[in-house]
Symmetry: C2
């Protein structure tokens, strides 16, 4: 299949928040719809940790994307009206420059020589891309999960770049429970001898570590409520059982196995470590010039000069709890941004935005239609 | 220090639920208070997965026990009135027979030759001990966490053996979220090359796997709410940071490191695997003779002929959610057991029973005083 992605060359060097610069770096991206004459109908979407730029099918790649039910003609993000842009995150491995890319200074893969990556770098790079496509101001900046933090980071560095913001299952700063989970995921990868300080290859690959990291991810992306209804205590058929006294015995275990199998070899472990650590580091309060973090977050939001915002999340999310979205909505309102808050009771946990697309689509569609 | 534990020889062979029998097996246990002339003041306590029999200080061992604030003269479990017994679980490694013990048939450590362990075996062994101490009927059987399931398993096999039951942060069957967590903990240990199918030793020990298992345990034993208040985004002093680009940076990470360090070498990995799997297997519905699990659990509870029960848990518990305790209390009431349900808003999650001893003690003390 032909490469359906387009590529955008970032300014070289591209300055990184924590120091250093990337030479000859690029973002892979896809678009849907058409930029209008006024250049004021652009919607930028920033993804969660692992998705590619292929958010939805398009002419270049008719396969379904990761938000296929949300993006398209007459869908919530209506591509008849909006010019939609989705990049693969800087630091990721789905076409954009990251730790798995070749370092032009050495001709070798960056690995741990990639500079410190911050979510602000992801947001800033995506805004460079948007500029490059002829857009000086976004109609809306949509950020999902990690992408929601990257969006706030980008706007903190480019106040006024978006008229509206849609925050999907995200937060202005990581809380210790989420840090603990991500730290443990990174530790599982780093403790795998095959990780070898980042010097693995296809033959010697930290599969065990990635396996544990992904399963822990899936556990925290979904919810106990959903699983009780979906899996209960259903056991595997004896024919599907491994010949191992501690092997999978319950359906929930084979579900996790299947998720891990699909992910482990398809996402670069070093990229995973960099993006995961960047999520822990992110703290919008850094931009607020106040010692008290709550005040600092409000100050930082005020500087963004957003006209409108939609903040949406679900009650069953344990990674980005709804209380964080509620607080963000209150903070946005306090800064004068007209803000809609939607708290859903979707049982699917953090991943609800990828699964319960009916309800997420309804809320996002209504918000965008009102702009 | 002298060994403060006493030892009880189980009937030999001791029949295991899933087949096979243990020869020359024993339970380590401790007691507090005095058995009265009527032999009707005995309270048996079954522990969570890792604690020893040393629930509280006593003449033989004046060091503080794991439930020091709850057990003692004039405390919630008042040793002036009650004769209190606490065994180390069968299958554990704190004095009782388990996978780390010598197999008398071979003279070698059991390791994975230990027979399949079920929580019913833990409950049945503890009831044998109680019998051996001259008690034909318990005043109360108290089970904490895993011990709550072992208690129900023991009572399912010995109907009428307890007049009252105190269920602390436990449940009648494991739900898929808890199974997923425990399955991943076991996988982390098994994937550690040093585990070596159970054939590790002090020099080659699955420290990395145990480390991950324990940290994941601590994450699910506590709560996001508690950590947000306690750790926030506080960073470590630069002097306390490791020289590692992915090393601990936040206080929450060093907190997890400290917990793991204390545990990793003090609990036998094979015992951990056996007890963890037994927790997944436990399902009181097996004793109910009905296809529908809800009906089966009620039938099983009815057979226990409990006069009184206290079911207590906390809203922030993600491993044994409060909804399970609420349901258990309703089921007990439906079977004619006079039941008190206490749902606390303690922020400490599952571990609240070990930390928020003021509120747990008040509820348990009031219940026992009313017997």
């Amino acid at each position: 299949m032909a490469d359906s992605r387009q590529y955008f060359a970032l300014p070289s060097p591209f300055a990184m928040k924590r120091g250093g610069g990337l030479r000859d770096a690029r973002l892979a991206y896809e678009t849907w719809g058409t930029l209008n004459a006024a250049h004021d109908n652009a919607v930028l979407i920033l993804t969660g940790l692992s998705p590619s730029a292929h958010a939805a099918s398009n002419a270049l790649d008719p396969s379904a994307g990761w938000w296929e039910d949300i993006i398209g003609p007459d869908k919530a993000i209506d591509t008849r009206r909006w010019f939609v842009i989705c990049p693969n995150s800087l630091g990721s491995c789905k076409g954009s420059t990251g730790p798995a890319s070749i370092n032009p200074a050495t001709g070798d893969t960056y690995r741990l020589d990639f500079p410190d990556l911050s979510l602000e770098d992801l947001g800033n790079a995506a805004i460079e891309l948007t500029h490059g496509l002829g857009v000086d101001k976004l109609a809306a900046l949509v950020g999902c999960s990690m992408g929601g933090m990257a969006a706030l980071g980008g706007l903190a560095n480019h106040p006024g770049f978006a008229r509206a913001h849609v925050c999907v299952c995200s937060a202005p700063r990581a809380q210790p429970f989420a840090i603990a989970i991500r730290s443990l995921q990174r530790e599982a990868i780093r403790l795998d001898p095959a990780w070898n300080d980042g010097h693995y290859n296809d033959a010697s690959y930290p599969e065990a570590g990635m396996n544990i990291a992904r399963k822990l991810g899936v556990i925290t992306y979904r919810s106990a409520l959903e699983w009780s209804g979906r899996f209960g205590r259903i056991r595997l058929d004896p024919d599907d059982r491994e010949d191992d006294p501690f092997g999978a015995e319950f359906q929930i275990e084979s579900y996790l196995n299947a998720h891990a199998r699909r992910f482990t070899r398809s996402f670069d472990p070093n990229c995973y470590l960099y993006l995961s650590r960047a999520s822990d580091w992110f703290d919008l309060a850094e931009y607020g010039g106040a010692k008290d973090p709550e005040t600092a977050v409000r100050n930082a939001l005020a500087r963004m000069k957003l006209e409108r915002a939609l903040v949406i999340g679900v009650e069953t999310d344990i990674l980005f709890p709804l209380s964080q979205q509620q607080q963000l909505a209150e903070d946005l309102r306090a800064t004068g941004t007209a803000t809609t808050f939607v708290g859903l009771d979707s049982p699917q946990g953090h991943d609800a935005f990828l699964v319960d697309t009916g309800r997420f689509g309804a809320a996002i569609g209504a918000f965008l239609a009102s702009l």
